[in-house]
Every structure is written in structure tokens, then in C-alpha cells.
């Protein structure tokens, strides 16, 4: 292995870990909704990208600076999250998880179509911050905008963990995911908890969508499906229902993706990411962390 190839690998690994935090956010969203409702919301990735597109109105239409634009993305995706809950989950019968699953697939396609039509199928520029800064470590240089993406994602995860572990809403949410029947008897309205979970994960997804846009510099209308797939891979590798699992799996998938990119090129990259998922499904189907929900 020659020296420059090795440097490329390390460079790819570093970039991948930093960008992987956005995958981790998306994975957390999938995993959290699954943990609370024991249902998959396949529209989650699309809702996240949808949030980023909503914020384009502020950026391109109103000329807002980057940070408020990101905030709009978070709020927009939170609202979309509630709409997804209302349309696909609130009224579908509990005993038929497939109904909600199919409804959320419909929602995924719907959001995707709206994005393609509204953007005329063209990529749009997306703002980033600190994009001229960089840190140089010997032969490796780390982009400032990626550091910002990393920090934003880590802060969002921190806020989420604080919500889940330190507030009564979060503790009630975990109570519902562990013992829904007992939670109802403790006066907790599961409908409220489900709705708040969709809004909170929606906000998280909006941050992720904005950060994906910020890291790449453009928003592509073709993002919704790949982001959904990456998010699901992260959630499954981490163990559905496990938040620490999703965080670590997000960083892993980000890093692996870039390493495969360096070694095999862009056209083959996703094949190997899928293989990674395959390996996990065969050897460790419960994911990195066996989640509470997979134990029964």
C-alpha cells in the first residue's frame, strides 16, 4: 500500500466520521419512533430532506443567513413529522402494523414527488458556515464546514438525550416504549407521547437534512430515498430501538462509505455499504446493541 493511498484512506475515514453524524441523527429518528411505537416510519428520511427544502424558502426567497435557515429546516421537519403522524399513524389500527408501514411508504413517495416538482428536479445551492476554515494535521486537512456539521449533530444528540433522560416527558416516552399498558394506567396518554416523538424526531431530522445540505453545498431532489436507505441501515446495524447503537452505527457507516469510496470509487460505494448491512443481518441480526424492544 503506497503512502498517498494510505493518506487518502485516513482522510476519507476522518471526513466520513464527521459526516456520519448526520446519518446517526437519521438513524436515531428511525430507531426512536420504532422504540416507542414498535412501527417503522419509512417517511422519516423524506421528511428530514423536506425540512431542508422548506428552509430553502428562507434562504433563497428571503435571503436569510445560514444559521436561521438551519433553524427553519428543523422547525419545518418537526411540522412535517406531525403531519406524517397524523396522516399515517394516528388512525391506523394498532393491531395492523403493516397499515401504518404502507401509509408511511406512500408518504415517502408523496414528499419525494413534492420535492421533485417544486425544485423542477434541479439541485439547489445550500448554505454552510465555516466553509473557508480548515484544520491541517500533517497531510490530513479537515474542512471547517464538516466540523460545524459534526458539532451541530453532536449538540442535537446531546439535547435529545437530555430530553429523554432528564425530563419527565422523556422518561414518560421511555416508559411507553417499555410497558405501554402500564403507562396508560399511569395516566400517560400514548397518543400524546407518540405525537411528541414524531415532532421531536422530526426536528432532529430537520437538523440532519440541513447538515447534509451544508456539508454537500447543494440540496439534490434525489436525496430522499438514499437518505432513507442510509438511515434504515444505520438503525438496523445499531439495533432497532437502541439510540447508542444508532450513534455508533452512523459513524461507522459514514466512515465505511468514505473508505469504500477511496478504495473502489463512487460507483461501487453503496454496494459495499449494503454488504456491510448484509454481514450484520447474518452475523448479528439484533444489531450492535440488543435493544430493549427486541428482547421480547
Amino acid at each position: 500500500m503506497d503512502y498517498f493511498f494510505f493518506i487518502d484512506l485516513v482522510q476519507g475515514f476522518a471526513d466520513g466520521v464527521l459526516f456520519g453524524t448526520t446519518y446517526a441523527l437519521i438513524g436515531i429518528g428511525f430507531t426512536l419512533i420504532f422504540g416507542v411505537m414498535h412501527k417503522l416510519n419509512l417517511a422519516y428520511g423524506a421528511a428530514s430532506i423536506g425540512g431542508a427544502y422548506v428552509s430553502l424558502i428562507a434562504f433563497l426567497g428571503l435571503g436569510w443567513p445560514p444559521i436561521p435557515t438551519f433553524a427553519i429546516s428543523a422547525v419545518g421537519a418537526g411540522v412535517i413529522g406531525y403531519v406524517v403522524y397524523f396522516c399515517c399513524f394516528k388512525f391506523t389500527p394498532v393491531r395492523h402494523p403493516l397499515a401504518a408501514l404502507m401509509a408511511s411508504v406512500g408518504m415517502l413517495l408523496f414528499i419525494d414527488e413534492v420535492i421533485v416538482h417544486e425544485s423542477d428536479g434541479m439541485p439547489q445551492p445550500y448554505p454552510s458556515v465555516m466553509d473557508h476554515a480548515e484544520i491541517t494535521l500533517g497531510e490530513i486537512w479537515i474542512r471547517g464546514d464538516l466540523i460545524f456539521v459534526f458539532l451541530m449533530s453532536v449538540v442535537s444528540m446531546g439535547v435529545l438525550l437530555w430530553l429523554l433522560y432528564r425530563t419527565r416527558l422523556g422518561v414518560a416516552t421511555r416508559a411507553v416504549s417499555q410497558e405501554a399498558t402500564a403507562a396508560r394506567l399511569c395516566g400517560i396518554n400514548p397518543d400524546r407521547i407518540n405525537a411528541s416523538t414524531f415532532v421531536i424526531t422530526g426536528v432532529l431530522g430537520g437538523v440532519a437534512g440541513a447538515m447534509i445540505g451544508a456539508a454537500v453545498g447543494v440540496l439534490s431532489p434525489l436525496l430522499a430515498v438514499p437518505v432513507t436507505v442510509k438511515g434504515l441501515i444505520v438503525a438496523v446495524i445499531g439495533g432497532l430501538g437502541s439510540i447508542p447503537g444508532a450513534i455508533i452505527a452512523g459513524l461507522m457507516v459514514g466512515a465505511a462509505e468514505n473508505i469504500f469510496l477511496v478504495m473502489r470509487g463512487i460507483t461501487e460505494r453503496d454496494i459495499y455499504v449494503m454488504l456491510l448491512l448484509f454481514v450484520f443481518l447474518v452475523l448479528r441480526p439484533g444489531g450492535l446493541f440488543r435493544s430493549a424492544s427486541s428482547q421480547h
Binding site: 422518561v171 410497558e179 394506567l185 399511569c186 395516566g187 400517560i188
Partner: protein
């Protein structure tokens, strides 16, 4: 206080509960007994609203709560424990009580109080409950890591956290030692002194005869007798249904 009015629940062709009527007065400890599969647990689940009734009504404080969703019944003052313990195992002992509190005060004080922190008085009440259930030195342990007896005590404490006026205890003595049984009956008596009304569903006859004011007996989903513990012990139908069933069980256990 609680009134069941010709309450029925059919699962397919099985009449799990068949036109059961009974009235629990305020301040009573009311026993609900019967052999295995006689419909006791189903009755409790109907009172909690865990599944819809087939026919009949559930009245609480004179109000018809038959159609009320489960989580709203707690606000009305009904709390329960489960035969097979259902704690939030990945929450700490303290959090189990905190999340169950959800009190009327918090509701009035709005969203943040209710969902962020709860109020100071509530925290004091948690301390008192921990003391009452002798769990104060376990507050930071995960509920799933407690010993069996401790889990039972925590579940009862969790039911009490919302300050219910009516408490359903579904076989609280299952799997308990003689010593634990004694403590349990003391705690149930203490509950009544605090002003709670208790519906006790139980297999352990000694406990039921010892502490209840009134007993109803179910068999095959029907109420076959109701009266004071002395009357029930003297009742010939009950002897046949219940003690016959118990004898069969003992045979099954020794076989």
C-alpha cells in the same frame, strides 16, 4: 364508589365475564375471589378499560366510565397493580414513581410543570412513598434489577403515586413468603387508613379472609356469592366451586 352493572365480556363464544353486578363502597377493602379462569382478571381489566366491554356498565362515583379511555381513568382516581409485575424496568425506582405521578396539580400548572420537572410537593410525596414501601435506599437502582418482593412493593408504590382514591390489586400476594404476606396485609390496612378503597383480587385465602370487609366470588364468569368473609366461608356453593378447584390445583401441583 365502584359499581358494576350487569357487566359482560365474551371472547368469541367464551363468556369470560357474564352479567356480573357488584358494588364497592367507599373505604371498603373488597375481595374478589374465585378459581383459576373464573374471570377475576378479566373483570379487573374491564374496570381499567384495557379492552371494551361486551355489555353492561362500569360506574365510578356515580359516573358512567364504560367508554372512558384507560389513561383518563387514572385522573378519575383508579390505579392498579398487575398479577405479573409490569414495571418500567429500564427506569430507576425513583423515575418509576416520578413518571406515574402525573398529578392533578401538575395538570393545572401547565405543560412545563407536567412534562419537564413536576412540582416540589410531588417530590416530597415520592420520598414519602419510598419510605412507605421501604425502598428509599434503592431509589437509583433500575427497577428491573430489584428483587421480586421489592418489585411488588414498587409496583404498589407506583400505583399510589397518582394518589388514587380507588386501588385495584391483582393478586398482590402471588409468590410471597409468609413474612412478606404479613407485611403486605399491614400495608393494605395502612392504605385504608389513608382513605383509599381497595379491590383485592386474590388466590391466597388467608389474606382475603383476614383483611377484607366484603367478598364476591366468581365462578365460570358468574358471581355465585357475595357477603362478609364469615358468610362466604359458610357458603356451600363457594366451598364446592372454590375449595373443589383448590383441591384439584393441589393435586395438580403434587402430581
Amino acid at each position: 364508589m365502584l359499581q358494576l352493572d350487569r357487566l359482560s365480556k365474551h371472547f368469541g363464544g367464551v363468556r369470560a365475564v357474564d352479567e356480573v353486578s357488584l358494588t364497592v363502597e367507599r373505604g371498603q377493602i373488597f375481595g374478589l375471589i374465585g378459581p383459576n379462569g373464573s374471570g377475576k382478571s378479566t373483570t379487573v381489566n374491564l374496570v381499567c378499560g384495557l379492552f371494551p366491554v361486551t355489555s353492561g356498565r362500569v360506574l365510578f362515583d356515580g359516573e358512567d366510565i364504560t367508554e372512558l379511555p384507560t389513561h383518563r381513568r387514572l385522573a378519575g382516581g383508579i390505579a392498579r397493580t398487575f398479577q405479573n409485575i409490569r414495571l418500567f424496568e429500564n427506569l430507576t425506582v425513583w423515575q418509576n414513581l416520578w413518571v406515574a405521578q402525573n398529578g392533578a396539580e401538575d395538570r393545572q400548572q401547565g405543560f412545563l410543570k407536567r412534562w419537564y420537572s413536576g412540582n416540589r410537593q410531588g417530590r416530597a410525596e415520592i420520598e414519602e412513598l419510598l419510605e412507605f414501601s421501604r425502598l428509599h435506599d434503592k431509589r437509583d437502582l433500575l427497577a428491573g434489577n430489584l428483587a421480586f418482593g421489592e418489585q411488588r412493593r414498587l409496583e404498589m408504590a407506583r400505583a399510589l403515586a397518582a394518589k388514587p382514591s380507588f386501588l385495584l390489586l391483582d393478586e398482590p400476594a402471588a409468590g410471597m413468603s409468609q413474612e412478606e404476606l404479613k407485611q403486605l396485609s399491614e400495608r393494605i390496612r395502612a392504605l385504608r387508613e389513608r382513605g383509599a378503597t381497595v379491590l383485592l383480587v386474590e388466590h391466597v385465602m388467608d389474606l382475603v379472609m383476614d383483611i377484607t370487609d366484603r367478598i364476591a366470588v366468581l365462578n365460570f364468569g358468574r358471581k355465585i356469592a357475595e357477603g362478609t368473609p364469615e358468610e362466604i366461608q359458610a357458603n356451600e356453593d363457594v366451598r364446592k366451586a372454590y375449595l373443589g378447584g383448590a383441591a384439584e390445583q393441589e393435586e395438580a401441583a403434587s402430581a
